[in-house]
Symmetry: C2
Subunit: 792 residues, 2 copies
């Protein structure tokens, strides 16, 4: 353990000023929770000055401000570029306060100016309907981390630090948040920080002591144990603990200087020698009382330093004169008259303590990453296309050429593009990327790694078996203006459902904020899909992420299911250029049938949905049935069903549609990509049966298309949780997305086929049994089905 | 660090036998990956003996078996009751092997007997269509943890150990899995294990070295750092490392004895003194080569001890004679002829090494928890009901009486019922439970905890800020035959989407297995819901968990939205008795309007859906419109809309329906709770407009009801991601679930109202504006709306 209890780097005037600045922060934080009028207490506090409903969280606010003002000092004295992430979800008052004091808030929201009127509005609107959020929302300048859901602060911080060698990312980790799984493993991110090319993350674990009503684990284990934990995670911990402000200012000032020296030494050593190795970076454990400087006792109950300080320490202020008096005493204890001038402006001596211009953490362009975003240099994706001489006759691994494309994107964008994946990039057939850049690895190396390890300390492929950490890194990376690509297993992308939700909410808000510049979209390739789990079985079968995706704001949600190599390339190319969206791409990694040459793929993907003429025979007439494929394997089975039907019924007319852009199915009033009703009707007819073979859970399609004219004839097949150890065809049969089930479906729904069709249905059912038997005997599908090709 | 390199507790005959038993395990593990015939190599190995498709994971199998045979020794020599959880997802061969050898497998699957024929079938069906899964699936006797998705092994293990004082739960943690967030924080579970009343968890961190293609983090940091990490987590680590079997047997044997001594000493100390305090329990770090004892090199590439050993070390065995020869050499290296008799049975000397009967980890009833499950003793829930003299006129906190009910359930079931929640039980108004039992707390205490801390070392309320850990504990607890209740924030239940999916899959399979006895259902109370986030804002608004729930097998999924206190009590009472399901209950914690007295609530909840006669005025006639409320706040708004309409249109006839059991909406062929079409039609009419006010995302209702006769007239309102800092009514207005929007909807859809309705619509729109303005001015909703009561 390291401690600087005796160091006193701050001399008196600076110490007093720093303390005064912090008092101003604490005053504002309390003021925004309580006051709707009389913002600087220029008159005695009366009940009508206090909000009717008291909302907001005082508990961690003083500590957050304390950190902020000390970081400001480091920025000024060391000329250090820095941004600030507040993990503690509800501590926004402690961040809003210094952001307002350094002027940025008024710059972007001129109605909340640096005067009494502005301050009053700032107070009143905090945590108020239509007002300022009680987290570090996108509306807060300098924020890239809302902290509404807990656990992602450190991974976001690392994402921001990657490829920003001059940047220090200070991240306050709440001790409540520290109990979450995502946070607990994200401490290991230090093993992925390259001291030459990356910036640095300085975690400040804030032992505030309590969650809502409970003590936190890390605050109630001995310091030695906590220090051991941090050292085990690979950090060098420094402890700053206490409650006396003067001593704490000295300790914090000294510790930050020492920590900064250490960071600079590590960076300088690596950068001058050119030797990249894992560093043991410093981190700070800051222990302060919860609700520090607030009421120490209320109605005979301990408040400061206890869980009762979590939200609003003094309730019933309107009804309870004693509480009102206590509130006034508390607010006046910060001596606002000494801090603000007659107009309500922070006095110049204090104003001078804040960094200037873009050095302010709230105005740093890294925290408004769109300002720094450069469009990716993209190769011509057509160069990676595979020839498809005749649709539906050749096979290829669908994701492989995308791996090659990504390789060259990486080459062309050596400092602002990274690929993320949980140890599955090879398994997912994207391993061509390693030709451009290896997997980042800074832990120990062994001689055998040279033979296929694909590891390097300067690799740009980020692999760790934590979807949470990867997603957090990736979000932090794009939020600070860079680009990336994340490929992961379909079943386990549910692990980050909640992170998806939060990022989608962030984007839905941030894209409406005029001063926030657009950032790169998040690109998620969902692969190793439900239909090809083979021996992985039931636990690995879950296409339900799409059901989560679809609930979020249509302005930021995109779902693509390209059926083959060239359509995937076209889709990925599009996604890499898009902004402020989340692009979810579903494509399996295995060897699949190919349908479209590159020109056809571009045309098809541009439309997002369309008739495949070569697979249809309804030209110039109304079809008997519309067959739809959406997703790689469902498309193959739907095609095979089409062929079976045409072989058995010479006069059947089938229209074949493929859907790439799932939101085409929704009405345009629901999603910007939605097809007009007229276009939908012209594709799907107004009254013919539609057999829709879908990649995911079938009900999703009904949810998208329930208002369409022909919805009553829409029959969707998809995954219905009927799986185990299955061959692909057997799994398809179990869930009725196989060619035989689909053909039977058509026979059942086209009246004129029903008589002649009866014995054909028998035959098709026999085929299903035969397929199953073959699989049970040989462990594989019959090659004639596996290698099936379009016969017309 | 602790190491027993020099201890040699095993004497020669025992050592040889133990080693032989392990050789038998390794032989079986390799055999099940490769062989379809010639199971004991009684003839030379030919290509046709080998499966066509080689699936399965060799990598961690030898290590798992190694641990298993050593634990068997401990069970025998110490008479220790024990169960076994295998974290490494794909290592099933290493567990299947000893389970088969100790006879349990053949007992439950007689076709896989202890003879050549049985062995052949066992081999062939492993990871084969229709056969044996390649994880520790529910079909595997002794398993309560499939390990298909990684990260939950430790929390499952703790769940099993709670309230089982004589049980030792051995859990192998894979070093890949150890990188996940849920696993990383679950190490802290040791702070929630009471040495008097609980059993113990012995984690064995298996440093196998590699994930699919990558080294693992924990295997590539110095041992000192790893030991520090484990000590920081509060464990006492013991290292067992090497590859020479003889030395490793001695080390492992000695370490297990020492560790067991230490466990017993901690337990004895606590149990004789009666003093409960946090213990520093031992854990083992086992470092062995990946694919240990397998081919060390193939085609010039290192395999044993490298990532190439992850799956199938020798591929192309059919085509490559050299590989076939290498496979045969490898298999014969275990000398199967010495291990099995002529009939293919393990020789008696080795058979004697396995524990007997229920002492076998694969036959321990704790791992088939339904066998031990005792029905909960439940108080009469009617005693907790509140009086509701007139529907829709009084208010109460909806979850509060359920807290009292749970308190008494806890009193009546002092050793087999626990309540779980992430530090929100007070916030969620369930704090009456603390009258029966405090929050379990074994870390440091402070004097102030006595004033409202509600902490106790023998508390039975489990609170930690990790939804993952809580869910894992809870699953482990019910899987071993106990009961529980988990209350959590709606928006953040998405954090455990994936755990829900996996548990639902487990139940879907396990309930079909005849020898698995039913276990208690998982009860999830989703509270602090979307409509009452007030200052928490947009990040806390997410009712989408239901969309995840609904995708899983209908045999195990249940969703209830009781609208008030008494219907929630009735629902909870039902759920606490149910088996093999996952019950999701949505109910907000705030002060809400009450509708049903207890008799009405029981009747209504038993039906799950029904007309509220007192709120309807269509008696004896067809209604003009069907108004539906589903969820507490949507029901209130729908009722208020009904009242508004009846006030403005004296002759309007409205039928009011409330839905508690969401699956009633689905057809009975889709879900066992589904209403028949006839019943649905008689409730919802065949042609009248339906205004359905739903708690969640509106599309979910269409997905359930799209095949119903009157679907074309079904208009659903729900949450549409339109939120920020809002008052409840303002949020309702933004998402159009408010009374005014609903009334306007009705006017628009009932033709005869449209002329007279035009100016009323204007008025309703003005009301919306007025409500918003009031909220923006006062920060709260107008009391007349907040405290609105049914006027008829």
């Amino acid at each position: 353990m390291n401690s600087q209890a005796e160091a006193t780097p701050l001399l008196t005037p600076e110490l007093d000023q720093l303390h005064a600045y912090w008092r101003a922060c604490c005053y504002l934080a309390a003021g925004m929770i309580y006051l709707r009028d009389n913002p600087l207490l220029r008159e005695p506090l009366r009940p009508e000055h206090v909000k009717r409903r008291l909302l907001g969280h005082w508990g961690s606010s003083p500590g957050l401000s304390f950190i902020y003002v000390h970081l400001n000092r480091l920025i000024r004295t060391r000329n250090q570029e820095m941004i600030f992430l507040a993990g503690p979800g509800h501590g926004a008052p402690g961040v809003l306060a210094p952001v307002y004091l350094e002027g940025t808030y008024s710059e972007v929201y001129p109605d909340k100016g640096q005067d009494l009127e502005g301050l009053k509005r700032f107070f009143k609107q905090f945590s108020f309907p239509g007002g300022i959020g009680s987290h570090c929302t996108p509306e807060l300048p300098g924020s890239i981390h809302e902290g509404g859901e807990l656990g992602y602060s450190i991974s976001h911080a690392f994402g921001a630090a990657f490829d920003n060698p001059e940047l220090l990312v200070a991240v306050v980790v709440g001790d409540g948040e520290a109990e979450t799984g995502p946070l607990a493993t994200s401490w290991h991110s230090n093993k992925f920080l390259n001291p030459i090319r990356d910036g640095v993350v300085l975690p400040i674990l804030h032992l505030n002591g309590y969650k809502i009503n409970n003590p936190t684990i890390l605050s109630r284990i001995p310091n030695e144990e906590l220090a051991c934990l941090m050292r085990g995670y690979g950090w060098v911990p420094y402890f700053v603990e206490g409650e006396d402000p003067t001593r704490m200012h000295q300790q914090m000032g000294a510790t930050l200087e020492q920590v900064h020296d250490q960071i600079r030494a590590i960076q300088q050593e690596a950068r001058t020698t050119g030797k990249t190795q894992r560093a043991h970076w410093p981190m700070i454990v800051l222990r302060t009382p919860k609700g520090w400087t607030g009421p120490s006792e209320v109605d005979g109950h301990k408040v400061e330093g206890f869980w009762r300080a979590h939200q609003v320490p003094l309730a019933d202020v309107h009804e309870n004169p004693e509480h009102l008096r206590q509130l006034e005493d508390w607010l006046r204890s910060y001596r606002p008259d000494e801090l603000f001038d007659a107009e309500g402006r922070l006095i110049p001596e204090l104003k001078a303590l804040a960094p200037k211009g873009q050095r302010r953490m709230s105005a740093n362009p890294h925290a408004n990453g769109g300002l720094l975003r450069r469009a990716l240099r993209l190769p011509d994706f057509r160069d990676y296309a595979i020839p498809v001489p005749k649709p539906g006759t050749t096979h290829h691994f669908n994701t492989k050429p995308t791996g090659t494309l990504l390789r060259d994107v990486m080459v062309k964008n050596p400092t602002n593009f990274r690929v993320f994946g949980p140890d599955e990039n090879t398994s997912n057939k994207l391993d061509a990327i390693y030709e451009a850049s290896k997997k980042l690895w800074l832990c120990d190396f062994l001689p055998e790694d040279a033979d296929g390890g694909e590891l390097a300390p300067d690799g740009r492929v980020m692999e760790m078996l934590s979807e949470h950490t990867l997603e957090g890194w990736y979000e932090g990376y794009v939020l600070t203006g860079r680009h990336g690509f994340f490929a992961t297993y379909e079943a386990f992308v549910h692990i980050i459902d909640s992170m998806y939700n939060q990022h989608a909410k962030w984007l839905a808000i941030s894209r409406e904020i005029p001063w926030r510049a657009p950032i790169a979209s998040l690109n998620l390739l969902i692969t190793s899909t439900v239909w090809r789990q083979d021996h992985n079985g039931f636990t690995h079968q879950d296409p339900g992420f799409l059901d989560v995706v679809i609930n979020k704001n249509p302005r930021v949600t995109r779902i693509y299911l390209p059926p083959d190599v060239n359509s995937l390339l076209s889709t990925v190319h599009h996604c890499l250029q898009s902004r402020d969206d989340i692009n979810v791409i579903v494509a399996d990694k295995q060897n699949h049938l190919q349908y479209l040459d590159v020109d056809a793929a571009i045309k098809h993907c541009t439309k997002g949905i369309g008739i495949w003429e070569w697979a249809s025979n309804d030209q110039g007439a109304e079809p008997d049935v519309v067959m739809v494929g959406c997703g790689d394997i469902p498309t193959k089975e739907a095609l095979a069903a089409t062929a079976l039907l045409r072989e058995h019924f010479s006069d059947i007319r089938i229209r074949f549609i493929n859907v790439v852009d799932l939101f085409k199915l929704q009405p345009p009033r629901e999603h910007p990509h939605g097809l007009s009703d007229a276009d939908f009707d012209s594709l799907f007819t107004k009254d013919k049966p539609i057999i829709f073979n879908f990649h995911g859970y079938p009900w999703l399609i009904h949810r998208l298309a329930y208002r369409r004219t022909n919805h009553k004839n829409l029959h969707v097949r998809g995954y219905k949780e009927k799986g185990n150890i299955n061959t692909p065809l057997e799994l398809a049969i179990n869930n009725e997305i196989d060619r035989f089930s689909l053909a039977i479906d058509v026979i059942d729904r086209v009246p004129r086929l029903q008589v002649a069709g009866a014995h054909i249905k028998e035959k098709l059912r026999d085929m299903q049994i035969e397929c199953r038997n073959y699989a049970y005997e040989h462990g594989i599908d019959k090659p004639e089905f596996d290698q099936w090709a379009w016969p017309f």
